[in-house]
Symmetry: C2
Subunit: 204 residues, 2 copies
């Protein structure tokens, strides 16, 4: 097939095909779209991709993503935010999901993943020691474990809870509620979610 | 939200979000993947995108995509291919689909789209005059109209047929067969496809 398309187009299809969940057909579609797009717009996309690493730094306290000229995350340095409350998340983008609610005024701590033996991720690869340091340094009162509702997320939450108890840290630990999401009919909810919803039922 | 993520990451998410069918969440996922990927690999992707326009040319005869150092498409210059047989397709990538069959030994002609009044594409924007020239110059015997099975593709096929007749070109014109695709149960085939399959039935 190699001589059917120009080398430059094949190279673009190949490179775009590295993106997660992008198969050969989708990569072809993206590349062909870019080929018909304005060359100047493509240069902007290329620059944005090339400058991604140099333009992003990790906050040494919260491990959120920050600008290179920032020392710590503005979500931590902001005086109006409650430093005695930490939401522990797996990935930096999880912060955005919680911020979109507009309801959370504490700080964050990014673990950098979840415990997953299959993927070779153990607790030693996560930012857990730094969390313990923060708990002591900031005199933290509550840790909201906001890992995903996946097997890995649940394992990480459990590990974290035990690890903090073992380290003699007797801070209040909470977990995001599990239950029926808004707009979902009872008959379509799975058994585990329904069990969680029953267990977590609230007095009216 | 703007201060929640580094400017470089937001820019990448924005630019990636221009790709067709890529929403905000998918753009975030791609950008975050690239952020965790190797900087050298990202540079290769950026270069491939930036060099797309300079690395791709259009064949002046068939309007297929070719390398900048080629004069005409190798699918046309190849002596073993039958120049008296032309498959007319909408887009350059349609050529790949036909080549993958390994059954076609004629040449191609890319129209550059299909007639679509809604999108403002009329016959004058398609490479139809160049097709007429080729038909005369190469003494063409058959034109296979291989436009898509969409309303636009069918309209284009009909227009092309009439246009060639009006231009007193009495070449044999064929259309790709419509029928039941391989692996599809009769009960799931739509009425129009089934009608086509009945009309185009073949003697055993």
């Amino acid at each position: 097939m190699s001589q059917l398309l120009p080398a430059a187009l094949l190279r673009a299809i190949d490179e775009i095909g590295r993106l997660p969940g992008v198969g050969a057909r989708t990569a072809e579609r993206y590349a062909y779209f870019l080929l018909r797009a304005d060359a100047h717009a493509n240069q902007k996309l290329a620059d944005a991709i090339a400058n991604l690493h140099s333009g992003v730094k990790t906050c040494p306290v919260t491990f959120a993503l920050i600008d290179p000229d920032q020392d710590v995350s503005p979500l931590y340095s902001d005086q109006s935010r409650n430093k005695k409350l930490i939401a522990v998340v797996e990935e930096p983008l999880d912060i955005i999901a919680l911020e979109r609610t507009g309801q959370y005024k504490g700080t964050y701590h990014v673990l950098g993943g979840a415990i997953s033996p299959i993927d070779g991720v153990g607790p030693e690869q996560l930012h857990i020691p730094e969390l313990l340091e923060r708990v002591k340094a900031d005199d933290v009162e509550e840790i909201i474990i906001a890992t995903n509702a996946s097997v890995e997320g649940e394992s990480t939450a459990l590990f974290l809870q035990r690890h903090l108890i073992d380290a003699d840290i007797t801070v209040k630990m909470t977990r995001l509620a599990r239950g029926i999401p808004v707009g979902v009919d009872l008959e379509y909810a799975d058994q585990i979610t329904l069990t969680h919803a029953l267990e977590g039922r609230r007095l009216l």
